[in-house]
Amino acid sequence: MRWSKVGLTEEEYKLVETILGRSPNDLELALYGVMWSEHCSYKNSRLVLRRFPVTGPRVVQGPGENAGVIDIGDGLKVVFKMESHNHPSAIEPFQGAATGVGGILRDIFTMGARPIALLDSLRFGSLQSERTRHLLGGVVGGIAFYGNCIGVPTVGGEVYFEEAYQDNPLVNVFCLGILEKGQIIRGQATGIGNPVLLVGARTGRDGIQGASFASEELSEDSEERRPAVQVGDPFMEKLLLEATLELKETGLILGLQDLGAAGLTSAASEMAARAKNGLELDVLRVPRREEGMSPYEVMLSESQERMLLAVEAGKEAEAQKIFQKWGLEAAVIGQVTGDGFFRVKEGERVVAEVPVSSLADQAPVYRRASREPDYLKETRALDLTSLPEPTDYNDALRKLALSLNLVSREWIYQQYDYMVRTNTVLRPGADAAVLRLKGTKKGIAVSTDGNGRYVYLDPLIGGASAVAEAARNVVCTGAEPAAITNCLNFGNPMKPEVFWQFEKAVDGMSQACRALGTPVTGGNVSFYNETSGQSIYPTPVVGMVGVLEDIDQMVTPGFKHPGDVIVLLGETREELGGSEYLKVIHSRVAGPPPELNLEKEKDIQALCLKAIRAGLVASAHDVSEGGLATALLESCLAGNLGARVSLPGDLGGMGASMGSGRQEARPVEESPTPRLQEGQGLTSIRRDALLFGESQSRILLSLRPDRLPRLLEMARAGGVPIYRLGEVAEERLLQIRLMGENLIGLDLSELEPVWRIKLAVMLGDR
């Protein structure tokens, strides 16, 4: 069928005929094919995405432009966005990931902002497989290649290894830029008669039909039909970046749009549609890399490092001069028209002519069928009583700490230049990365988070937890969460079970965003992440941006001084569902993920921020995968110190309700163990749940003993449970006693080097 070749359905084809009042020619049909593809039109997700809160006092630009923008005061705007490059990376990990970085960078600087940070959120299958090692090495190498060369630091990210991603890795890249003065630039082709210029790399036959490629499942024959792989040229992009920012200063730019999926077709029609104008271009004026390219190939090429620019008539030479200075080609390829048509010419011959709005705005939208998946009945039925507790807790913690999801990511981030531009004041390895903003007291904290396993086990809670954890990570540095971007990585939306996961996850994220006051300013949806019918874990990834009003107040996760008191904010419940412990020690992926009470989450974050701002806190670290014991271990490792912790059975060592300064003088074992205010004691919690459970809304702090009374007071006022766990020790030993019994005594100087180089060893580098 004609329509199926370009990925449309029969009804969609009929709709095109109705719009045109005739049958489309082959090129026109191809234009609709790409523009109405899932990747460009969001036809299956658009309705659900409307549930996100998108406004807030800081929001300058919400979803719909190349990137979102928030105002952080002092005349500064922060521009940020996240995007996936999953399918290209599965085929060619190095170039796939590299061009993913290139794409997200262009999204930021086409808004007129200077990119200052990248983060990468990655998911792979088991590292036991040679293919996964090849994918990981390639993806990390590609990100390093591109980001390092262009000189934007990669300051953080995350990586998980789960079988569910075996054949379909996820490569999501987040970029943040800063706009110091002037206005943001929008992707608009304004002003009838104004010229439109194509700038940057020459057009070749790269990635033709990449957009429709991203809109289907990978299968055996995707290898066959795969488009010519795009190769990134970060040097070219660096020139584009500098030239763009220089040109911006002249005020000549009316509109700017980067060329991504569906290349010139998408960029040109979207620019025209946003300005409600028409646009006409001549493919013969497009500088080419190869001979004999057809209009179809020129219009659909996805050659990288290109941008489309609209300037005022008569100013094109001035713009071209700046590009020339940077060694770049900028060709006038068409102009803005007033007739509302998207017209493609080959010389004098019109080869396609369709209404702009029909391409960019009138793609059909669908509300797909939605049904709760059957597997949930099984996974929910986790019976903890059937799980034996570890006989050796020391051994269990060691195993957990050395599991692939918890070992140091140093092998990855050392390949990234995370310091260039000299703004990175909190480097990779912490809960969030922090960048200073030179010339101000401010800082920006950024974190990406998304636990696919939680979402798989309960998409509503999992989605909300991704937002909550990202916010908590940012709060642990002393920053106030401001807004998020996201990447929604799911399977085939035509499957009701997948669509259900998608809807629920978005609902959960939306609820959390509302509760925490962090609107969504943009994002990206990646469907069809499946191989041979097997879907990945539904994986929404959140990119959180937080603002530190005073960078000198920044706090890091490592313990600082022997003798400091260690306290835990938040409640620990008997929750082992979806935990790393369950997976690593018991080989189970089951149970409901930890509950999330957004009110409590909010209170805890507010308290942590308040305490940091009051200068009380020496270290802050959120408790996430691996639970309390792992969080303690991580704060020890980060601070090159040890800890002596003594837990009473119900963790009630020092409820906020009692909170008087006198308590800290007493050994914890002897202190009274009152119930929490709410009266929900934890007396019967299993020991493994206590140490390794992943109850949400918990933060581990350390502080000078004399500051504890003030913290307790704040906690009581804020209604936040707080527990004294023990103290920081000079000796690099993590000791955890439970009701007088020694459960854990881990020699950190022995563990640390193993933990640090585990990934390198797995990859054959050591």
Binding site: F235, K238, L239, D417, V420, T422, V425
Partner: protein, 233 residues
């Protein structure tokens, strides 16, 4: 005492060097475009890190033919101070202003990490503010920092006191484990025979403020300042 920071297409530490000189040290500084041949009024030049011309073919290979490099050569021959950092060092090697060449890191990976380097000589304009044997904590970020020179050249470097920095551990011990990239003799930085041209792989501009984790790199810039001040009186 004016500094010039050369900007090649693809330089990406130019702004960082400019910031340290101009904002941290409060000295006059200007950018010098790679097509310029005019270094009038400049007392000290910095060739910053980055990926000039994408580092395609070999690091620094294409940049060294930039018009500005002719001016840099003349400037150096007349005794002007030239500091090449990372890619700047690679360019100086390619241009023949310093002896030797760079190979890929032994790990074959880009490596971004803190390193310690030991000061081997204080008798240069770049190190007068340090002590022999002093250990400086300064980060590296490169994939081609594996310095090579043949034995004859090494001997000359050694005898001429041209080896300024060696990678070491935090205690100042020069060991294989403390050598991050495989450089011969753990070399992290060398000068020319006259001592007025320094190339180093670690980035002193990334270690010039306490907020960034180390201020040791500042000593290099302050040494330059002291030298220039001494010269101008």
């Amino acid at each position: 005492m004016k500094f010039g920071v050369v900007v090649f297409p693809g330089s990406n530490c130019d702004a960082d060097c400019h910031y340290v000189v101009g904002d941290v040290l409060g000295q006059p500084v200007e950018y010098i475009w790679h097509e310029s041949q005019d270094l009038a009024g400049v007392d000290s030049l910095i060739l910053p890190g980055g990926f000039s011309y994408g580092d395609y073919l070999r690091t620094g290979a294409i940049a060294r033919f930039s018009p500005v490099m002719r001016a840099v050569e003349t400037f150096a021959r007349r005794g002007g101070l030239v500091l090449g950092i990372c890619n700047g060092f690679q360019i100086l090697l390619e241009a023949g202003l310093l002896p030797g060449a760079m190979r890929r890191n032994e790990s074959l990976h880009f490596q971004c990490q803190d390193t310690h380097i030991r000061v081997e000589s204080v008798a240069t304009p770049f190190s007068s503010r340090t002590r022999v044997g002093q250990v400086l904590k300064i980060p590296i970020a490169h994939s081609d920092g594996n310095y090579y020179a043949d034995e004859g050249t090494l001997r000359e470097l050694e005898e001429g006191g041209q080896i300024l920095f060696r990678y070491c551990d935090s205690q100042g011990r020069v060991t294989a484990a403390a050598n991050p990239n495989g450089s011969v003799d753990s070399i992290a930085g060398i000068t020319n025979r006259q001592g007025n041209v320094l190339g180093m792989m670690p980035h002193p501009e990334r270690a010039a403020e306490a907020q960034l984790g180390s201020e040791d790199g500042r000593l290099i810039f302050e040494s330059i300042l002291a030298y220039l001040a001494g010269k101008s009186v």
